[in-house]
């Protein structure tokens, strides 16, 4: 939030109407998952630059491809790719929660909390497996 709520007045046609803000709320894991889903969504959009650059450079020239894959294979590149992988895995697993929720599955209070925790646990596990597999199969030097 860039400005305090009291500073933003609702002016029809100029500002968007805002819902009344709650001053008292409790931290829940489903709420955290919802916020993380948005954050990882934005991060994934930025990460698409890496994927598009990788495929785009293969269309351009061998020199461009070597530059891009050289950067992505560097220490910094691998760090960025691991963050991107983690972000995509969370968005994928948590997104599946929402698709099931749309079908009315897993909406119970306890069940929703359990699956939210599962999203936080599964995404790093999947990311580590993916990087382990990339090193084992892709010949990560």
């Amino acid at each position: 939030m860039s400005e305090s709520v009291s500073q933003v007045r609702f002016v029809p046609g100029e500002t968007a109407p805002m819902s009344p803000h709650l001053q008292v709320w409790k931290f829940t894991v489903t709420m955290a998952a919802s916020i993380t889903h948005r954050a990882t969504g934005v991060a994934n959009a930025v990460g698409m630059l890496a994927l598009t650059a990788w495929i785009g450079s293969a269309a351009l020239s061998e020199a461009a491809f070597n530059t891009v894959s050289g950067f992505l294979g560097s220490g910094l590149g691998r760090f960025i790719l691991f963050g991107f992988t983690l972000s995509v895995m969370f968005h994928l697993v948590n997104g599946l929660r929402y698709l099931f929720a749309d079908a009315g599955i897993g909406m119970g209070k306890d069940q929703a909390a359990k699956t939210a925790w599962a999203a936080y646990l599964l995404s790093p596990v999947l990311s580590v497996i993916i990087f382990w597999a990339a090193y084992a199969l892709g010949g990560g030097q």
């Binding site: 934005v42 293969a58 995509v88 698709l99 990560g140």
Partner: protein
């Protein structure tokens, strides 16, 4: 379609469902092509089924991310000027990613 909101709602879920299998395909593909040379990479992209799935990816993702980021803009940016500017940048970014991705796949497939 009842409204723009309904259209966004359905499109966001449709692209999400499409991207679940596509993401799994792409992750496996990247794992096995992490050390691909220029020629290996082009030969892989040029396979018809790979090219088709990559084009599907680069059509679906920009739509999904522009709707999602559009929701974030609608929720957190309240001033009209800033909203218009970020909405424009959001659409432009999604269009650029989609265009670059689809064009690259077509170029590699046809020139290979």
């Amino acid at each position: 379609m009842a409204s723009a909101a309904t259209k966004h709602f359905i499109r966001q879920r449709f692209t999400a469902m499409v991207q679940v299998p596509l993401t799994i395909f792409l992750v496996i593909a990247i794992i096995t092509h992490a050390d691909a040379s220029f020629e290996e990479m082009r030969a892989w992209v040029a396979k018809p089924w790979v090219a088709a799935l990559l084009v599907a990816w680069f059509l679906s993702v920009p739509l999904h991310m522009s709707i999602g980021i559009g929701d974030v803009i609608d929720d957190y940016l309240h001033k009209q000027g800033m909203r218009s500017l970020t909405t424009l940048l959001n659409s432009g970014y999604a269009f650029a990613i989609g265009l670059a991705g689809v064009f690259s796949v077509i170029a590699i497939t046809l020139i290979h």
